[in-house]
Amino acid sequence: MRGPWLTSIFGVVLLIGIPVEFITGLISYAAYDPRLNGNDPNPNHGLFGLYLFDWVASPSWLYRLTEGIHVMLGLVLVPVVLAKLWSVMPKLFSWPPWRSISQLLERLSLVLVVGGVVFEMSTGLLNIDYLNPIKFYPGHFYGAWAFMAGFAVHVVVKFGDMVHALRSRRLRTELRTGLAGTRPEPLAGGLVAPEPAAPTISRRGILALVGGTSLAVFVLTAGETIGGAMRKFALFGTHYRSPDSGANHFPVNKTAQSAGITTAVTGADWRLELVGPRRISLSREELLTMALTTADLPIACTEGWSTVQRWTGVPLADLARLAGASDHGTAAVKSLESTGGATLSAAQVFAPDSMLALRVNGADLSLDHGFPARVVVPSAPGTYNIKWMSKIVFSEAR
């Protein structure tokens, strides 16, 4: 049942999907603002960092959208990639392995395409499944560049064949052809078996099977970022369940217990330290007496899940002014958790809705959601919404 037409159908889906994956992936790396102090998960990015730009703090849903697309589209494409690999298997055993130097080089570049696509899928999947046999950030990032190099050449070399194959049959006719009418595609290019067995499935059957598998993956995961009623159907998402109840009933990323945070360090003695031209220390009561702002903002995780909640807190801009900081410096936000922290850009600190959140949905933050106070920055990766805040250092340096 294999043939150039079927391979090209999968190919055209990936031709659209994979560049979207690459671009949203590059956006995700830029969203980490890796050029700010301490933010870069891939410090030796070299020339691969040339495209980097200052990440924006508006609209607030931007990272939720791009990363939701990156992860959910990536998951939905897995069955298509597997179908594509299945459809070109006979090529692996074509003999002689090459007829010219050009063909040899082409086949070598397929190492990057086949190895690369499986590498990107597996590192992404294992990362969202919380199993990390290798380092995710450098693996997924540098792997993507190697894969895309091979992918670009593969597309240029095969584009003509793909268009030709797509024109050889009409999709509408195929969708009307059941098993009884299914015949092998004409012999060409080594994808079709020379003497195929009688078909046991029609072409439309294969398309329905691959599309149905993608649909199943979508329904069973996408609720994690779409939210609402769909969240409880995300049976293979990691964040389809929420602890607590009431105002704090939404998914947690990293529990207080695992971060070593206990009520002993978040009690009445807790102070937020502001360090800038002026040094100031504020209790939670003092923060609550300041002018508070309320905004609906997402927590959007790099792993693809997200949730929008109504946060109330002190604008970060007000804290910056209190510490005497200028409006073009950066802010290093630090957590009580020893490893927790990030550097925020001026655009993020002075965005109207950026805040040190004290309350969520009208109630105090729970300990798991960052009590006594957490940072919430519009459109930043969720990992920058630092919980259990202890200190903000305003600085002129980047």
Binding site: G46, P79, L92, T123, Y130, G150, P199, N253, Q257, S258
Partner: protein, 172 residues
């Protein structure tokens, strides 16, 4: 130019494109060298390269062949029956894909980290997977019984049902 084509097998742009591609990939490898744990990353890439072709493909192809042969024996022995092979393939493939994608959750391989990050444990995913698999097989089986019923009724009324095309070249 003709000399180039005869010895290389394609135009110079082809060569330039491929060399650029290998240059980018080689540069990516030099970036990986700077990461602690770079050996693991390169090894993982090698595993991915052969993972589908030398591990996944032989397994699922062999399993499918067994399935198709079983159906052929079955159809040969019992005369006409509605072919059932796709009613097994579809739930197996969907359920198997989900297993391949989410096995760390289903087999609780990342339990400690998962619990740290979510506040829950991974016990639920095996049950989720079994429930989804069960629902897929149940739906596929129900559809098969329906087709079987329609097929029998047609046979009684003397019309040959269109679902099963006899093999044209025999099993191969």
């Amino acid at each position: 130019m003709r000399w180039f084509r005869r010895h290389y097998g394609a135009g110079p742009l082809h060569l330039a494109g491929l060399l650029a591609c290998f240059a980018v990939a080689a540069y990516a490898v030099t970036r990986v060298f700077g990461v602690s744990g770079w050996k693991g990353i390169l090894l993982w890439f090698a595993v991915c390269l052969v993972g589908h072709d030398l591990i996944g493909w032989p397994i699922y192809t062999a399993a499918d062949r067994v399935l198709v042969r079983a159906q052929q024996r079955h159809l040969g022995r019992r005369g006409f029956l509605v072919p059932w092979v796709n009613h097994v393939r579809v739930p197996v493939i969907i359920s198997g894909t989900l297993l391949a994608m989410f096995f760390p959750l289903i087999f609780r391989l990342s339990q400690a980290r998962y619990a740290d990050y979510t506040g829950f444990d991974e016990n639920v995913y095996l049950a989720n997977w079994l429930a989804v698999t069960g629902a897929l097989f149940a739906a596929s089986g129900a559809l098969y019984l329906l087709r079987l019923g329609v097929g029998r009724r047609r046979r009684v009324s003397g019309r040959r049902p269109p679902e099963y095309a006899p093999s044209e070249r025999g099993p191969g």
